[in-house]
Amino acid sequence: MFKYISNRLLASVPIVLFVAVFVFLLSHLAPGDPAALIAGENATPEQISLIRDRLHLDEPLVTQFGYWFSDVLRFDLGNSIFSERPVTELIAARLEPTLVLTTLTIFMTIFLAVPAGVIAAWKVNSTSDRSIMILSVLGFSVPAFLIGYANMYVFALKLGWFPVQGYSALSDGVFGTLRSVALPAFTITLVFWALVARITRAAMIEILQEGYTRTARAKGLSEGKVLFVHALKNAGVPISTVIGVGIAILISGVVVTESVFNIPGIGRLVVDAITQRDFPVVQGTMIFFSVVLIVVNLLVDLSYVLFDPRIRY
């Protein structure tokens, strides 16, 4: 097990390296001059060129990469060229809202999608199966930002149950935090649950046909117990896989809802950094995301052991 984990981590080093080089090139080769944005719309060319010098922007790319990468090797992702704050500090400050938002989304999704998938599989090809499946695709077919605005309109403006926008930090009380991320999390859930519901359904259909569920039924176990204990346990593997794969979808949902609901999370940090060419922040956050994705996938693989005793690493 330990060997497996260390091997996996070792194998991901070249991946992170690749991401580092690729993102560096991507951001530096893109047209657009951060110095012009720092200096402001009404700045003079002289003011801009002073800033360019200061940021070493006119030096060869290789040299610039050298500066940056030697820092990265020391776990220093550099400083934002706008606020001059360390990128690690910026990420840390934005981490909490995004983490809370994604965690809540995953919980909501599981509570909504897994039962729906199980019911659909249990009554496969029935009307309820069809309607659950079509309903789940519906969330997939409306742009997330529109779902967000609709939720804001109904639940925040008309009903007044939740705040329109903003994030209340955990240190100011857990309840306030949950209230502030409830609508954005619900919005992403509406998009995300389709995926989980369908995989759950597919996995359950397979499992319900297998020998041991039939045995369990024959032994006189109630239908509910068969479904939720025996069958669902075996469906854990495909479901956690889809959560691993779905993290990417989740992140795109997070980027959008953070804008709609004005949540100061990492998604907005990256998008802002790209639009204003804040190179160190773009590079740092992309590396951060790649590490997160790698770790999540590793955790997902490890969770197979939990769900399926036959799997050993």
């Binding site: 047209p31 657009g32 012009a36 719309e41 800033i51 909501m108 329109v164 306030g176 204003q276």
Partner: protein, 527 residues
Amino acid sequence: MFFYIKRSLCAAVLGATLVAPVAHADTTLRYMGLSKLDMLDPIWTTNYGVRDHGYLIYDTLFAQDVDGNVKPQMIDSWSVSDDQMIYTFSLREGLSFHDGAPVTSKDVIASLGRWMQKDTFGVEIKNRLASMDAVDDTTFTLSLTEPFGLVLEALGKTASNVPFIMPARIASGSVDDQISDPIGSGPFMFVMDDWQPGVKAVYEKFDGYVPRDEPPSGLAGGKVAMVDRIERVFFPDDITAVNALATGEIDYIPQFQPDLIPILEGASDVVVKPHNPLGQTIQIIPNFLQPPTNDVRIRQAMQLALGQEDYMTAILGSYDELYSYCPSIFMCGTALENDANSERQMSQDVEAAKALLAEAGYDGTPITLLHATDVSDQRTGGSVTAQRLREAGFVVDDVVSDWATVAQRRANKAPIAEGGWNVFQTGWDGMALQSPLTNVYVTGACDDAWYGWNCSETLQQLKQDFIKATSDAERKAIGEAMQQEAYEIVSVIMMGQYTQASAWSANLDGMSQATITTNLWGVSKAD
């Protein structure tokens, strides 16, 4: 732990109306920042969002009142020698920085010195500067090598970069390094620990501030902090901010799209008013260096093809009280407002444009239009420009990109094939355009001019005349002559003067004089 989250989650999902107490004191004023605040140095950048931040935490020697007159602010008294070469200033009593240190002549001299290296108006003083000397702790002199009639205008300027006064230990650093310690002597203090770059900036009332006795007027007069805490929050989406104001989550939106006004009309406790009366303009800038816009007749044809009405209605819709068609290159409502040579500028005449194009022998060389689509005004304005130019017979290459790319490309003097351009849109505001020393369209400085590189010896001469001018009547006449020439060579096409809608919660008092976004002194908030 797991169970706990589940329970709270269910509560949240069901939309429990057990409203958690909102943790803020009553005198916290939350408002929407017009831009992200991710830099702190108002001398390092011309970004208006940073300037607005500067006005909260710094003080200035002079300031403009609501009518545009320069009034002393930190200065108690001042005098000029008879030969107009030596200015003597003395500071008001009791001024101190947020760290407790008193404001001294040394601080002022260091701050002005740093500002002069960077600011275009400041450079004019620097070029004529003999020395700045501290006479004592609160008195200092500024000696010139030749008379310069606009010293006070420069010290009281409101367009970026504003000569804010900082402690000498901070201001004596290199102008090429951004300051990292935002300590000023203004009515509010910056709370560094609560700053989230790009998201939120927090200010607290500075108890040690000694305001002037006069009532506040524009940026002049007594700047009394009447709320304990100000939170400036950036909203990526206007509609989120408007809805947040409707539900009372924020107190003030300095500017938003007037199309969204109907959302607030239902809310009884919200006041909607036009913003800053001087407002903004939209400007179309032709490139003097590259064909076909290097031909003055082509530029004049563009002047004829474009009309202010298109831009104003496209951006502001039916809210016509928010905009006006203004013929003046110095904007309307300013001292130098005039309508010299504005016939072409103010008329939209497709046929005349076509005729002029034919006369110029326009051969269909495409006009390369830089069109930023991630900035709302430019996205809209670019579409208008492209369409109207095409209708007048131009071939338009509508180059769409994000603003970061436009900001870089507009600096390129090279031919189109090497990344150059013909036309782009920008928006200097009235604060900058009102004076020939900050209005980049009347410099005529050719290679040294702002983007577009407008070029005219007449304009260069007029600028020198303006600096030497001694009376208002003389300045006004020079202003007219400048506009005459600038509109003749078409250094800019002015596309109308407008102001956005502004809205605040009805329990705010003293908002009427808030002409500049962060002019939040003198504003109080009732329970």
